[in-house]
Point group: C2
């Protein structure tokens, strides 16, 4: 028999209600529910919001948080990130991913789209932490086609192995980028994913240099290059898209590609800031948000990402109406869910029970004239009090099981990296 | 006899130490102090940092947080802010300022430079909350010189009254801006301040429009216009300076004017983003940071302001080395202190005991490879555990005296405003 959970006396869009969760689904929302359940949570006037969906991260990199600061990209990559990554073990990825999950839970994220090495260990960590995750297998041949057979073999093996994962964790394909993966592997990965109905997660037009190089080498923008290979489709999740040409936007829209905006990473690594949110939206492109990994943007806080995304749009366009609050909330929740093909991101009957309770009894929500404005612009993620993922409580009153053990293990392991 | 306070076992720049506070001064820092004191705080390996200094705010506007979101400036001002402000009372400013102080304490700010109506009530609130504040009397004649005599009378009266304030609160002059105050009042205010050694706090080149208008009306940029009136000097604190011409930077440097950068406000109101941090710094201008009031930027969180300031500099310049961490910390602490003429902003013997203890036993500081990077880029202000201002504990283990009463009173009053 499935667990049933009743949340009493919470505010949904400003209205007081109760929520009944049956198994992993929101079964009923009403003004006074009195169903018998295994467990009752007294909401005490907290607000309920959908769990955030972090669409682009490299979760395990949390273990190298702060390893390179205020450095030029080349220095950062060659002298900090790559030497550190070369020492990574499965154990480090396991604990690094657990730390990432802890941080995501504490900041109200219930689902993330990852892309990193040792995905079996990453999936195990996510599973144990109770989060929903998409785990793309990393395909990166650095244009060396001789690597194809071993990559294909490993990918197929990992895919088979992923069948043992629980229903919250989903295998996907991660082709690193059009500049680091050969056209042969891009096409293979794309076909492999399409045949098995898998998502494809990749980096696209993150830097201006990438565009210049692609135009020189292929005579096409990265978007058109991928399109010429037949890669683009509704299963593609394209991270960054910071330097997409206006002419490429209709192509992304037509192919149904999802765009993932990672503003904190773009700013901190100094890739740029002019993300074309309004143009993507107006063309009908599904836009979502991500934090990127902690080596580039230092945390996995979706509320922060939401705030910075909106501030930058308003700032660079000099238009305060750009990226208004209701749209912003959609990018971090239901738009991401629809891109991932899961029925989540809304507090509605029949949706997955992925949600957070927000404590508003504090200075950041005083006065509470506009809850969403307070959530995004005034509060920080310490207002997230309780988190439920897939119908299970993963944090209650800010307590996550196993927190001390995670910090201890990361502290034990990270010194072997740096 | 003065209070003596010993803080044991804390980390200062990564080194374990004890700090002895005598009255309001840091008297001694050593590896193991054993002085008898009235009170001992056990630091338990927390980090100590200087209290942040918020150089530009309109504290009481916290009572109207969230009153206007995602609106064009004219709509926001005419339909939200001005109608709300017209109903403000001294009681509202008192409780609004208390709420602001609560928020500043909770986020590690020990000193703020205000500018708002009912400054007697604001100073009373700051005094009771135990914070250090500068309280500029607002001079705003909207170019109507007939108002001069009544403004002068009120200002002189307020100045005399301010002599009764305690030593943490300092009277100053607030001339709203060169576009809203007549040249006659600008000159009077400047002379009044100089004769009494008072600071002058004003808004300068916040918007592009302001520059265009000033050039048309006076044939000069706002900076040159103020300079032509003899206003600019080392006692001037100029908020925003977002649209300062390159040719004006040496003038600000030469006159010793302090620049206050308010990035979240600039972005949210959509005034722009290209603050010339590196140019100001290289010209020798003292740059500091502020949050602006909660009506425009929604919170008073200096850690957030620091993070956004650094991210934007790196992003718009596409240079990750812009505004590095050590400089960033200086803008929010010791540079601001020197602009205000107080010996604060450093944890050193002989400095004012304005400081915070940071709890690093949590995910945001794991791993703790780079404490400052974690503080600014990974953590949020909920890591601020204990705050001491002027030698007195104003928050301990995140508890601020009177918190519930402040929230209650603001909740009682704000509905009369909107």
């Amino acid at each position: 028999m499935m667990n049933r959970l009743l949340i009493k006396n919470i505010l949904l869009n400003g209205e007081r209600c109760d929520i009944l969760i049956n198994g992993n689904i929101i079964e009923k929302i009403g003004s006074t529910l009195s169903e018998q359940t295994d467990r009752v949570i007294e909401g005490n006037g907290k607000y309920v919001i959908p769990g955030f969906i972090n669409m682009h991260t490299h979760a395990a990199m949390t273990i190298m948080r702060g390893v390179g600061e205020d450095l030029y990209l080349k220095d950062w990559l060659h002298n900090r990130i790559w030497p550190t990554e070369s020492k990574l073990t499965g154990e480090m990825v396991y604990w690094g991913t657990k730390l990432a999950c802890l941080e995501m839970i504490k900041s109200g994220t219930t689902c993330f789209n990852d892309q990193y090495w040792f995905l079996t260990e990453a999936a195990k960590a996510a599973e144990e932490m109770g989060l929903r995750s998409f785990q793309p297998f990393v395909i990166l041949d650095l244009m060396d086609e001789s690597k194809a057979s071993s990559i294909i073999e490993e990918c197929e093996k990992a895919y088979v192995k992923s069948r043992q994962w629980n229903n919250r964790n989903t295998f996907a394909i991660g082709v690193h980028s059009p500049y680091s993966v050969s056209s042969k592997m891009l096409k293979w990965a794309s076909d492999f994913a399409r045949e098995r109905e898998l998502l494809v997660h990749l980096h696209l037009s993150e830097t201006q240099q990438e565009n210049t190089d692609c135009l020189r080498e292929n005579g096409l923008t990265p978007t058109r290059y991928l399109d010429s290979l037949g890669v683009l489709g509704p299963n593609v999740l394209a991270a960054h898209c910071l330097w997409i040409d206006d002419e490429d936007i209709p192509i992304l829209a037509d192919r149904g590609v999802t765009v993932i905006h990672n503003i904190n990473s773009n700013l901190k690594i100094a890739s740029g800031y002019r993300f074309k949110y309004n143009e993507f939206r107006d063309a009908g492109v599904c836009v979502t948000l991500g934090t990127d990994g902690c080596a580039s943007s230092n945390n996995l806080d979706m509320l922060e990402t939401m705030k910075t995304s909106a501030l930058i749009q308003k700032g660079w366009r000099m238009d305060p109406t750009s990226l208004p609050l209701d749209e912003l909330m959609g990018l971090a929740t239901n738009q991401a869910a629809s891109a991932l093909g899961i029925k989540a991101g809304k507090i509605e009957q029949g949706y997955l029970a992925d949600l957070s309770l927000v404590d508003v009894n504090n200075f950041a929500f005083t006065p509470n004239i506009n809850f969403l404005a307070n959530l995004v612009y005034s509060a920080n993620s310490s207002c997230i009090d309780t988190v439920i993922c897939d119908g299970r409580i993963v944090m209650e009153n800010r307590v996550v099981k196993g927190e001390a053990e995670i910090l201890e293990n990361v502290n034990r392991l990270y010194s072997q990296l740096i």
